[in-house]
């Protein structure tokens, strides 16, 4: 095996991992603030992926142009979901919340099946088959563009939470729920906003994923599981942790598949999870709780 091949695979794994990280970032943001585990996360992403297909077929729009409108639609979906469905469950036992979101996920999968059918669907852009040759190391152009977009969205999100008043208010809610209420923050609205932002992240990730892969309604649960593996490895509730976890999982799957057997590459991502948890139960970048 040449160094070029190993390097190519490692870079490909990192690039894919960055997009996965963006997807998981949405899950981490929602859990970090609202403390609700979104079991419909992957399914929400498949909705975004189908939106890309609809816009692409109807208007011929490039996924990068669709990034903002698809994220906006997902933001609205997340906001409404939180206000109409999840808020009434916010003080109920966790298992009630889990079942609620599992039910929402099932409805989403079957809704997509009804509308789009079971066939795998994808888009072909002018750069779908392009690649860069960097001294013998061939890199998928679509993955490079998708990863760059994922990084930009992640940086924008970090800046929003660090630099804006609304972002700081949301962080205040996450840090101290009662304190936020005492100082007069509209916590319910901020929760809805947070769920919307998490959903928008998923929308952006789904849009980017359409550049590199196809979608079927049935693929949602696999992405939900992947998002869980990433955020638990990176640290549940930690935004940088989601990106780090995504890259780690992407890289591990790629190299594990290459050096061992590709059919077992998913096993390596779970192996990383198992390895991390005994030493850092809070995840790589998660905060220790009392």
């Amino acid at each position: 095996m040449t160094t070029e091949v190993v390097l190519k695979i490692a870079i490909s794994g990192v690039l894919t991992g960055l997009v996965y990280g963006l997807m998981a970032l949405g899950l981490s943001v929602i859990f970090g603030v609202v403390r609700v585990v979104n079991f419909a996360h992957g399914e929400m992403m498949t909705i975004a992926m189908y939106l890309v297909i609809v816009f692409f077929s109807a208007l011929g729009l490039d996924p990068f142009i669709m990034l903002v409108p698809v994220s906006a639609v997902l933001f609205a979906l997340g906001y409404l979901m939180q206000r109409a469905i999840i808020n009434p469950f916010i003080n109920r036992p966790e298992h009630s919340q889990f079942m609620l979101l599992v039910a929402v996920a099932i409805v989403m999968v079957n809704g997509l099946l009804l509308i789009f059918g079971p066939d795998s669907q994808g888009i072909t852009t002018s750069y779908s088959f392009d690649s860069f040759d960097l001294g013998g190391v061939i890199i998928d152009a679509g993955k490079v563009y998708a990863a760059i977009a994922a990084l930009i969205v992640a940086v924008a999100l970090f800046s929003f939470f660090r630099l804006t008043l609304t972002g700081k208010a949301i962080r205040a809610c996450a840090d101290n729920y009662n304190g936020a209420l005492v100082v007069g923050l509209d916590v319910k609205r901020l929760y809805s906003l947070t769920f919307g932002i998490g959903a928008a992240c998923v929308g952006a990730a789904g849009t980017m994923l359409m550049i590199v892969t196809d979608v079927t309604p049935a693929i949602g649960p696999a992405y939900t599981l992947l998002a869980f593996v990433i955020v638990i490895t990176g640290g549940l509730g930690s935004m940088p942790g989601a990106i780090v976890g995504g890259v780690l999982i992407g890289l591990t799957e790629a190299l594990g598949g290459f050096f061992f057997t590709p059919s077992a590459k998913t096993m390596f991502s779970f192996a990383i999870l198992v390895l991390v948890l005994p030493f850092r139960p809070q995840g790589i970048m998660g905060r220790k709780t009392a």
Binding site: D119, D133, T216, P262, S263
Partner: protein, 410 residues
């Protein structure tokens, strides 16, 4: 208060009379069933990873009614079941269809799912005709109600090597090395297990396998697998795949700038209409070594015409042919059995002797294990969005094109 009997002498007599009528006509129930359509539960992966193929098999179901009528065979009442590309769901749906009155089962494209359905059919004593599933063990269990009109993995492989030798001799150009890539499901694993052994029986095979790569057919990304295959510098790619993975692999071949001299597919995927439509000119070139049809047979032409009418622009393929033939077996057996009684139906299927069929081979007959051993496989190739049969020469309609045109020259 003492309870009073509600059965009077009059109602008791009426009951006895009714029971007598039922008992007296019971022997005719089975015969009278001939007038009604046979209830056939068709189990296919209509959703999940194999949904595209399941839907394609359904096209074969769609055109069956008209063809059976032309052949003067009894009508079938189709009861649809979705296996969701899942073995356990396949098992549950088979149980459900039988409970809902299915008198015969057909399906289910995939070996793992078909194995589960075969177990249910045998336990419940309902005949099951497999349309597509190649794993040999299914008909090695001593089942009495399970029949397969589809070649086993060993037969597919043997014919594949035979046809490849013929093709490379005809073209005068043969690859020296190959990578063998296969899905890790029941079918892919069965093919992998048989591959080396069967290849050894064909010493004239021109290439040597330098690497075997097993992969997950439901994977979202197959770049690692293709990179690993490319790193071997093999001249040919031997594939056992499904549909979505075939599309992903082709995309990766283009992106990773690797055009093998030949893609030799020994399973589905590369010839499906969705593959051709999705990839356009990039779909041209792969050669397939799979259960196929004899384009010169009368019923093959009738099925092709019926499909062209019902689904314009769709190329007739294995999915349509073998799903149709499974239903043909059911209707033919129902006619001869004169009954929907499961045992009578199973006996009739065992005695099947259909000469006027579609698939390549002498016709449809089952051995004591319920396997049609007479089936042969063909070689065919994607050319300009169409499928042409290239080997064996006795059942072909085109000459092979080899080596494959590189992806960057299209």
């Amino acid at each position: 208060m003492a309870s009073k009997s509600r059965i009077s002498r009059r109602t008791f007599t009426a009951g006895i009379g009714a029971a007598g009528i039922v008992a007296g006509t019971a022997p005719f129930n089975i015969i009278s069933a001939q007038g009604a359509p046979l209830k056939v539960g068709v189990l296919l992966p209509r959703s999940g990873a194999q949904a595209g193929i399941g839907q394609d098999c359904q096209r074969g179901v769609d055109v069956t009614a008209g063809l059976l009528k032309d052949l003067k065979l009894p009508a079938l009442q189709i009861m649809n079941g979705d296996t969701e590309t899942n073995v356990e769901v396949a098992r549950a749906r088979a149980e459900r269809l039988i409970s809902d009155g299915a008198q015969l089962l057909v399906g289910a494209f995939d070996s793992g799912q078909s194995t589960a359905i075969a177990q249910v059919a045998e336990q419940r004593g309902i005949p099951y005709v497999i349309n597509i599933a190649a794993a040999p063990p299914i008909t090695e269990q001593g089942y009495k109600f399970v029949f397969r009109n589809f070649p086993t993995a060993g037969r597919i492989l043997a014919d594949a090597f035979e046809n490849q030798i013929e093709i490379f001799k005809t073209t005068g150009n043969a690859p020296k090395t190959a990578v063998f890539m296969h899905v890790n499901d029941t079918f892919g694993t069965a093919m992998q297990k048989g591959f080396t052994g069967v290849m050894g029986k064909f010493p004239a095979t021109p290439y040597k396998v330098v690497e075997t790569i097993s992969y997950d057919g439901t994977a979202r990304d197959l770049s690692v697998e293709v990179a690993k295959a490319k790193a071997t510098n093999a001249e040919a790619l031997v594939m056992v795949s499904r549909l979505n993975d075939a599309i992903l692999i082709t995309r990766e071949l283009v992106k990773q700038r690797w055009s093998p001299k030949a893609i030799l597919s020994m399973g589905p995927g590369w010839y499906e209409d969705q593959y051709i439509k999705t990839l356009g000119k990039l779909s041209d070139g792969p050669m397939h070594f799979a259960p196929w049809y004899d384009p010169n047979k009368k019923l093959a032409k009738a099925l092709d015409a019926a499909l062209a009418k019902a689904h314009p622009g769709i190329n007739m393929n294995t999915n349509h042919v073998y799903t149709f033939e499974a239903l043909l077996v059911a209707a033919d057996a129902y006619k001869r059995a004169g009954s929907a009684d499961p045992k009578a139906l199973a006996d009739a299927i065992r005695a099947t002797n259909i000469k006027d069929n579609v698939s390549h081979g002498p016709g449809i007959q089952f051995d004591a294990k319920g396997q049609n051993e007479g089936l042969r496989n063909s070689a065919f190739q994607n050319r300009g969005g169409k499928l042409v049969t290239i080997a064996p020469a006795t059942a072909s309609n085109a000459k092979p094109e080899h080596p494959m045109k590189p992806y960057d020259k299209r």
